[in-house]
């Protein structure tokens, strides 16, 4: 399974997303990383270009709800129907909100790498 990990918005905190990238690679996933400060449009077009199976958004600045709304719009505009998820600094109370917007899953702050890997192994069967 091919995963696009992305950094939308202006937030430069990338330790977490890189740690997850290594974790997923070690667990046998193929990872494509966007690098910092990408617009949602750029992220979605990278996803299409690279034919990935899922997209992860890493957001630590608090703009996750705004960016998730935009993600939903751009995915629809591009007729892209693959699961996407949100991680970073996400308050537990926003997990449901993000999932209601359209994220397949949102990982609250302090989620362990093993839990994320387990989630991917689970959706891998379905994709």
């Amino acid at each position: 399974m091919k995963v696009l990990l992305s950094k939308p918005g202006l937030d430069g905190h990338d330790v977490g997303v890189k740690v997850l990238a290594y974790g997923l690679i070690d667990a046998g996933f193929e990872v494509v990383y966007t690098g910092l400060r990408k617009s949602i449009e750029e992220i979605v077009s990278m996803a299409i270009e690279n034919k990935v199976d899922t997209i992860g958004l890493s957001i630590l600045s608090g703009t996750h709800l705004v960016l998730a709304e935009r993600m939903k719009e751009v995915m629809t505009e591009n007729n892209l129907d693959i699961p996407w998820f949100v991680g970073g600094n996400v308050p537990a109370q926003d997990v449901e909100k993000l999932e209601a917007i359209g994220a397949n899953k949102a990982f609250a702050t302090s989620t362990k790498v093993a839990e994320v890997v387990a989630y991917f192994n689970e959706i891998k069967v379905k994709v």
Partner: protein, 540 residues
């Protein structure tokens, strides 16, 4: 004294081997033999190479400065805070900027959506500086600006504002972080390619050395490099390589080493093993002094000083059992003081998951005050000097940092190592290994993987986004763009562009542009037209 030097190893005593995070093996017992060859026996605090501290009297004369970090969303709030501080007898303030300002985007840029004023003060034009510093006597306050990618513009605005208000800029004080090389490793607010980014830093150094000599234009940060996954040896080595890159740039502009080096300061991180951090600072301080004197030929002792702010790092704090962070921060403060820091700052214990309350910020302040006033930390200079273990480890650190700097040389120097992503790749791999070590229990972390208890659900909190303030900022920007002399602005932006094309120092043309209320975004775009943008190396 024994004829043959003895080293007492873990095997001798039948105990387990112990390694520091930096990979250095720690012996179970240290003796006089371990410091037999150390230069420390002949060293005094305040004397070259300053292992024991940069001043002979250190905290006996004056304790370290306490400077906590804080951000205020608007220029108006910043101004209120300044007025309050001055009324209460304080003389310094850190200014944090929002991400659009740090990344060179105006408030009305679509990419600034949801970010205007979120993590600090918004700046579009000189007008914002003029509001923030209204009725403030710049001779009475020192302003420290945490900005990097657009530091040259922020410094230009500070100088332009002071000039317009009638100050003699040759006596203007203040500091800017302005360490772009570490932004490529951690923190991420780079804009231009690495070599052009360094050129802009050197422009500020050259301009300040000639016109604003009391201003400190650069604070080199090991802090963010360590938070990104570097071990303590790498933290110091990479910071020194970065400082050398700026120094080389300054010298190439004909600035004397003694006119520049004494204005350079450092920002370092503290978490992890207590003795390892202390040795890192003592060994690092000795090495830096030697680099400046032996490699650069500085004559003035002051040039050789490693002046630093060393504070408790967020990297050591946990969301689990957060009150434990109060204890951790007290140890970090102790490490900082035992290492002879000039300035100290601590994170609040609840910072990992929420907005620090006034109460938690007060605990950080009291932690440092208790140490100064109750623990006798200021009584004697370099109280650990002469400890067999600390001195032996200090010597080892000096050697290891030097070796790590040679590794960077082998990668083609710091600019190349950063441009190709070599350093980013190695520190992020280490961050992964460290995180997995903690998650699998290989690295002990109290409350996280040992001595855990059922956690109550602590909600992660953010400051609510102030959409109204953001809208007001955009409106104001519109008004300013309509009322300024746009022909002059265009001429100034063209001058910035031609300055960039002709490799001139851009400070004068940027100062002229900001005086005509050219925006941060417009000036950055003029430079981007010539320099292009940094392409982040991806190593997955």
């Amino acid at each position: 004294m024994s004829e043959v030097k003895t080293k007492i190893t873990a095997e001798d005593l039948g105990v387990k081997k112990v390694y520091l995070e930096s990979g250095i093996e720690v012996d179970p017992i240290y003796t006089a033999d371990d410091v037999e060859d150390s230069s420390i026996k002949h060293e005094m605090p305040g004397e070259y190479p300053f292992t024991r501290g940069i001043h002979s009297t250190m905290y006996r004369k004056r304790p370290f400065t306490i400077r906590q970090y804080a951000g205020f969303a608007s220029p108006e709030e910043t101004n209120e805070r300044f007025q309050f501080l001055i009324a209460n007898g304080q003389s310094g303030l850190n200014v944090a900027f929002d991400l659009p300002t740090q990344c060179g985007l105006d408030s009305d840029d679509p990419r600034a959506l949801g970010e205007v004023g979120r993590v600090g003060m918004t700046v579009d034009t000189l007008d914002d500086f003029e509001i923030a510093f209204k009725n403030i006597d710049l001779d009475k306050i020192t302003v420290s600006m945490t900005i990097n990618g657009t530091a040259i513009i922020a410094i230009a605005m500070y100088i332009a504002m002071a000039e317009k208000a009638g100050y003699d800029i040759s006596s203007l004080r203040g500091t800017a972080q302005n360490d772009i090389l570490k932004e490529f490793i951690g923190r991420g607010t780079w804009i231009f390619p690495v070599d052009k980014s360094v050129k802009l830093v050197v422009d500020t150094i050259e301009y300040c050395a000639k016109h604003v000599p009391k201003y400190s234009p650069v604070s080199v940060c090991g802090y963010h490099i360590r938070e990104s996954g570097a071990n303590p040896i790498q933290e110091m080595a990479y910071a020194f390589c970065i400082a050398k890159a700026y120094t080389d740039g300054a010298l190439s502009r004909g600035i004397d080493i003694d006119d520049f080096a004494s204005r350079l300061s450092f920002n370092f991180d503290i978490y992890g093993n207590l003795f390892e951090q202390i040795a890192k600072f003592r060994g690092g301080r000795r090495l830096w002094a030697k680099i400046i004197r032996e490699d650069y030929g500085a004559k003035n002792d002051k040039s050789c000083w490693l002046r630093m702010i060393a504070g408790g790092g967020g990297g050591g704090l946990t969301k689990e059992q957060p009150e434990n962070n109060i204890v951790r921060s007290a140890y970090y403060a102790l490490i900082s003081a035992l290492s002879g820091t000039q300035t100290m700052a601590l994170c609040s214990y609840d910072e990992a998951y929420t907005i620090p309350t006034e109460h938690s910020a007060e605990i950080s302040l009291r932690t440092m005050q208790i140490m100064i006033h109750e623990m006798g930390i200021c009584d004697t200079v370099d109280p650990l000097g002469g400890s067999y273990y600390v001195e032996s480890l200090t010597d080892t650190f000096e050697k290891k940092i030097k070796e790590e700097m040679l590794t960077v040389d082998k990668w083609g120097g710091i600019v190349n190592a950063v441009a190709t992503g070599k350093i980013q790749e190695s520190v992020s791999k280490q961050a992964y290994e460290r995180e997995m070590g903690m998650q699998t229990g290989k690295v002990d972390k109290v409350g996280v993987n040992i001595f855990t208890r059922e956690e109550e659900n602590k909600e992660v909190e953010f400051h609510p986004y102030n959409q109204e303030a953001a809208d007001n900022q955009v409106e104001k920007l519109k008004r300013i763009k309509a009322s300024r002399d746009n022909d002059k602005v265009q001429a100034c932006l063209a001058a910035v562009k031609s300055g960039a094309e002709n490799d001139e120092n851009l400070m004068p043309s940027i100062i002229a542009a900001v005086k005509e209320y050219a925006t941060v975004g417009e000036i950055v775009q003029a430079m981007k037209d010539v320099y292009g943008e940094f392409e982040e190396p991806i190593f997955f």
